[in-house]
């Protein structure tokens, strides 16, 4: 579908900086009216539509969250179990968290729920032929707690029970499925308020 290609011609940060420099260098010059143009993806997109990409992201995140909940419930032991469902920053952030739990003798209770999955971007062939899917999500911690070795809750007082995050997924190493690659807090503009 043409719009899939057209809507995904985004600037990489480095490229954006370059364009920025060029724009600044050419003082007084402003680009004329922009016409939508097409960039061909470098390989066959993993998904035929935004909807498919979103559904795959939701499935991938469910797999991640289930695994994370389980490892935290067991005090962070055997954190390597997260490897099949997280790569790069997401894996690092998870494993750091598991180690912290082990070090502090914490364990989690309850299951983290999530909802309001919303596609930010599906970018086929974003880098090295990888497809990147970015979504927004509301995480719901209302049924979860973190206890220390004495069974006392150690969550921050006033912890927001529902928080917005931006998730990124990619099919690392050309795999035929996507996995979570990063999870970052997102601007809270009330989208996760029930």
């Amino acid at each position: 579908m043409p719009y899939l290609v057209r809507m995904r011609t985004i600037l990489r940060p480095a490229a954006a900086a370059l364009v920025l420099f060029a724009a600044l260098a050419a003082t007084g010059c402003t680009p004329g009216p922009a016409k939508p143009h097409t960039l061909a993806p470098s390989s066959t997109p993993l998904f035929a539509s935004d909807e498919e990409a979103l559904a795959a992201a939701e499935e991938a995140y469910a797999a991640y969250q289930t695994t994370e909940d389980q490892i935290f419930a067991e005090g962070g032991v055997e954190g390597e179990r997260i490897r099949p469902v997280a790569v790069r920053e997401a894996r690092k952030a998870a494993i750091n968290g598991f180690r912290s739990f082990m070090k502090n003798g914490y364990r989690a209770t309850g299951l983290t729920r999530f909802d309001t999955f919303e596609l930010q971007e599906y970018e086929p062939g974003a880098s090295d032929g990888e497809d990147v899917v970015s979504v927004y999500v509301c995480l719901d911690f209302s049924q979860t707690d973190v206890l220390d070795s004495n069974g006392r809750s150690v969550v921050t007082p006033g912890r927001a029970l529902r928080q917005p995050f931006q998730l990124r997924f990619d099919n690392a190493a050309g795999a035929d499925k996507i996995v979570l690659s990063s999870r970052e807090p997102w601007t809270d503009s009330g989208q996760c308020v029930i």
């Binding site: 043409p2 719009y3 057209r6 809507m7 995904r8 011609t9 985004i10 940060p13 954006a16 900086a17 364009v19 920025l20 724009a23 600044l24 402003t30 680009p31 009216p33 922009a34 016409k35 939508p36 143009h37 935004d50 994370e68 935290f72 962070g76 920053e89 997401a90 952030a93 998870a94 750091n96 968290g97 598991f98 180690r99 912290s100 739990f101 502090n104 914490y106 983290t112 596609l119 930010q120 971007e121 599906y122 970018e123 970015s134 911690f141 979860t144 973190v146 150690v154 969550v155 921050t156 912890r159 927001a160 928080q163 931006q166 999870r183 970052e184 807090p185 997102w186 601007t187 809270d188």
Partner: protein, 269 residues
Amino acid sequence: MRYLALGRVALIVALLAAPTPASTAGAPCNADSIRLGQCPSPTTSITNGGVQLRAGVETRSNGSGGNGGPGWGRGDAAPDPGAWNEEQARANGNYRGVYEVVSPATPPRVVTLNDIANFAPAVGGNHMEPNGWIVVGLDTNFYSDAAPRVVEGSLLGQPAAVRFTPVAWRWIYGDGTSKFSTSPGASWASLNLREFDPTPTSHVFAAPGSYAIDLTVEYSAEYQFAGTGWVAIAGTIELPANRIVATASDANTVLVNRDCRQNPGGPGC
């Protein structure tokens, strides 16, 4: 939020030097910090000519592995005149800090459609009456419910909103003809017309068969950073709506809502 009152550290970020997504101003929070409620959510607010990103940080210094890293990292201890007792917090091994990032609201260059490519607007639907079938020789009414949509996201590294406004509709009827309209059309009922009446967006199919009717909606786009007005982006974006597949038949038998005596305003009466 209480922590917003705690501004102590101000970093002036030059957007021109290194565009950085506001939401990713630093290393991602570790999974334990997220679970413990120690990762702040960036919030934006309007200031004098600038977009402000503020993030509160609450950290148990003897707890998690921390959420260090540029931007998100632990802030200087910030005494809170309010309920937060800094000394007590320190004694408990907890402290909190606040980072404030101020950056210019004015984008450094002309924003183009490429820049908003990661904002995915919902495409308005393609509808037809009668739903799913066509009477050869009579008008079939097509209309769209495409409406202006505001999509929030990151633009040039800043939290921003993009407003998509539908401006034109093109139906491709699948019989070799098409229609360009600057109106989305409307249902017969909302136009106060009878079924099979001609409308500005209706079409008459001449032969029986199966037809795939496609609609493309053309949108204009505007962007807005917090605290600024809407700014138009040159050009338009064309997005395909859903395809309708319908069967056209001769009007030998048409199911109508009661007969002409009971419903004199009905089709064909």
